[in-house]
Symmetry: C2
Subunit: 526 residues, 2 copies
Amino acid sequence: MAAAPVWSVDPRTGKQREQVAAEATPQVVDAAVRGAHAARAALADRATRIAFLRTAADLLDAAVAEVVETADAETALGSVRLTGELGRTTYQLRAFADLVEEGGYLDIRIDRADPSLTPPRPELRRYKVPLGVVAVYAASNFPLAFSVPGGDTASALAAGCPVVVKAHPDHPATSELCAGLLRRAAVQSGLPAETVAVVHGFDAGLELIRHPLVAAAGFTGSIRGGRALFDAAAARPVPIPFHGELGSLNPVVVTGAAAAERAEEIGAGLAGAVTLGVGQFCVKPGLVLVPEGDDGDRLVDAFGKAIAGTEPGVLLDLRMRENFLAGVRERGALPGVTAPVAAGAGGGGEGTVGAGFFQVPAARLAPGSGAGSGTDSGTAGSAYDVLLEECFGPVTVVARYGAADEAVAVLGRLGGNLSATLQVSSSEAGGGDAAGAVDGLVEAACSLAGRVVVNGWPTGVAVAPAQHHGGPYPAATSHSTSVGGTAIERWVRPVVYQSVPDALLPLELREGNPLGVPRRVDGVVG
Amino acid sequence: MAAAPVWSVDPRTGKQREQVAAEATPQVVDAAVRGAHAARAALADRATRIAFLRTAADLLDAAVAEVVETADAETALGSVRLTGELGRTTYQLRAFADLVEEGGYLDIRIDRADPSLTPPRPELRRYKVPLGVVAVYAASNFPLAFSVPGGDTASALAAGCPVVVKAHPDHPATSELCAGLLRRAAVQSGLPAETVAVVHGFDAGLELIRHPLVAAAGFTGSIRGGRALFDAAAARPVPIPFHGELGSLNPVVVTGAAAAERAEEIGAGLAGAVTLGVGQFCVKPGLVLVPEGDDGDRLVDAFGKAIAGTEPGVLLDLRMRENFLAGVRERGALPGVTAPVAAGAGGGGEGTVGAGFFQVPAARLAPGSGAGSGTDSGTAGSAYDVLLEECFGPVTVVARYGAADEAVAVLGRLGGNLSATLQVSSSEAGGGDAAGAVDGLVEAACSLAGRVVVNGWPTGVAVAPAQHHGGPYPAATSHSTSVGGTAIERWVRPVVYQSVPDALLPLELREGNPLGVPRRVDGVVG
């Protein structure tokens, strides 16, 4: 049986553009994994790896025109956004090269021998080693930054792990183009081309997670797909870590004082966050708690005007469009839920969707006002719980609350999130009693999310050493991050050397510290 | 139906000593978890937590006579070993108190806002927060150091996580005694007694891992039991991390030059490591690769003499004794496997077992000499593979190899291990060509284990900041450690604060650093 063709599709028309590859058979997946596995020794060389990451960034930057054109043809995300995304992607590759050079991620700890202890302590020298081949499952909504040359790939390669990417079906041509550039960079840096491979097809993704030589996986996508792969990873004879980012509602709470102070500004900012990338961001605010009363009304009016003025856009594929329209219908059919600006089909020609929002009393979302808890087994479900689920696309839910307790009660009903955002007033931000009054909100935000934002918006996840893009399940299936410097920690494991003579130690652990990497000696950073 | 009684049993006679508790019903487990959950806020206070850990150590030390007597009556491990184990346990509690005080485990990273970047970078401040209630599954073989007051409990409490321990049925009285002391320490430190709870019973262990308010688990025990709990943790609606230490063969390789240099010393040291604690250590050497020829013969002779002179001992319980005797019979029945000193029942009165070892040509363990690989799907099984499995108790397998390649080939067939040990000569330890010749062994050891020991023995896992007690599956179900400073990392998750005003930040992240904790600012340690 011939392997099924993989087509590049124009989401603006739904028409097939070109056949760019074939779905990977089990034999093709096996060959890709074995080729990657064989590249481990070459990739173990630190200087080679650093050169590779920098060359990959250079080649991608040099190909900006072709990459952006190809990605736009498959995703309709537009050249401005995609040019920015490529810049973010190559910045990230270079940042990981710098991080390998610095060496702090090895988390080196050295304990000197201490014969005075009972029992005597032998010398211990610990660092981290790469896990092996990493499987990366690319996301639909960032065809570069969370796809073939994205953060999972960059951090895994930086750690010394070869990568096999399961390409997302929404942008196979972009995936092949970027994979070709990464492979060229590998060869130019003295590595086998097989250091990075791409496979296509749903079944190939399952083959990959089950392959005995795959040592770990990174994933960005839906709860359904991510959970199935997480389950497969856990069910292996040798289970492997599965770092998945599955979904997030990204609640926002606006305090009464903030609404009084900045109703129009917050409304406009919210509209930008909800409609950025046609609402196809993992960190799009999907639930906004706004106070009842005049200040809240002003905010909602400003938000409504801004969102009504947003240009219609094209979603990443037709299935996503159907899911979006179905999600909008389901939410709009709930009694007591209004749609001051109706999200939905059309407005900008066939295939487009328009942005909008729903409004609902917060009491519908927190029956018993605060009695429930997101982590508590005792919470009864209700038809309104769908308003607490992510709806991918340019739409959000505005819930109007009375007392501040009610907002905290709604937060208490949520599962894990990538982000939680608070809009507070200048006096609440300034300390003293006013700040004390919002402590409960800050704590609630911290307990449910991996990132707490105050007086900003969660969209635009900065690539930075301290960034954390993850959170309690289902935001992430582990406590790791897929963006930021510590993303590399997912692909390494500690090994400690006990009483090992200097000549037999890896360079990073030798007494003279020939690579000049940071170390903790006897528990003290130095 | 009345809850089943839990008896303390004397392993020397198999007789019931006293009824010390009842098996926990689902209601009892639920109450224990809810009580622990309610203690989170009190335990969040850093100074309280530090005082609690130190008070717990003091109370345990003060009760040394009663603790050791109780533990010896249930485990037959003897007062010398148990007194040492209590010292290790209280040292560990104090070490975690110091570690909380120092604050490095929070892994604080601060990135300043940078408006010059595209897009502009907001200020990011990241630290780690406790996960919530931790379930600890106690081990049989360390009734103190890997049980109620052991490393999992100490590290979880240090992280700010209340603990519910599932007691091991081999030492319920010791578990209750220690739990009482920990609870008294909690109250003396201003914490609820419910900060630490103990439950008994197999079903209670399953209830615990499935409880919605349990956030993570630590386990030390068998592959079978650990894997069942790992699977249950992964199958939850909200999966939780399961840090299990399941089993390890702990291979040792003696080079030809080492045997020539120190045959008698290595043989005697090996006997000590195999028989320590009646062979009931997770890190007991279970496979020893010794060169063929005269030097190897001398080593095996010395080992045989030393092990034959070991006093018989009592295993922890009757089921373990039966499993040990069955394991010895199964291994001894393989053609070509000899037992120069036969391990088995008796010798020291009813209930005791004697130490011994098997010998086999290494070729039996590496069919096709090096073609297979422990991580490779293509390896065919053989009847001799049982020699590559852990046999809990005072017995080991000595495999005699010809060329060094053969030893590496056997290592390549092993799964994950807690430790791998090399015995090398002084010239191999000294660098140059001789050291180069053992590089392949060091690499093989590192690839299969969490700890690499050279010219020492893996038994005696030092409690130290750099220690790593874990390794590839099944040594551990995650890449974490259950001993050493980084054991605390299992119970915390990162949260990043974006653009959060100083007054709303946790103390650890405030600009003035009022707690004086170490931080990385803009990627630089300082």
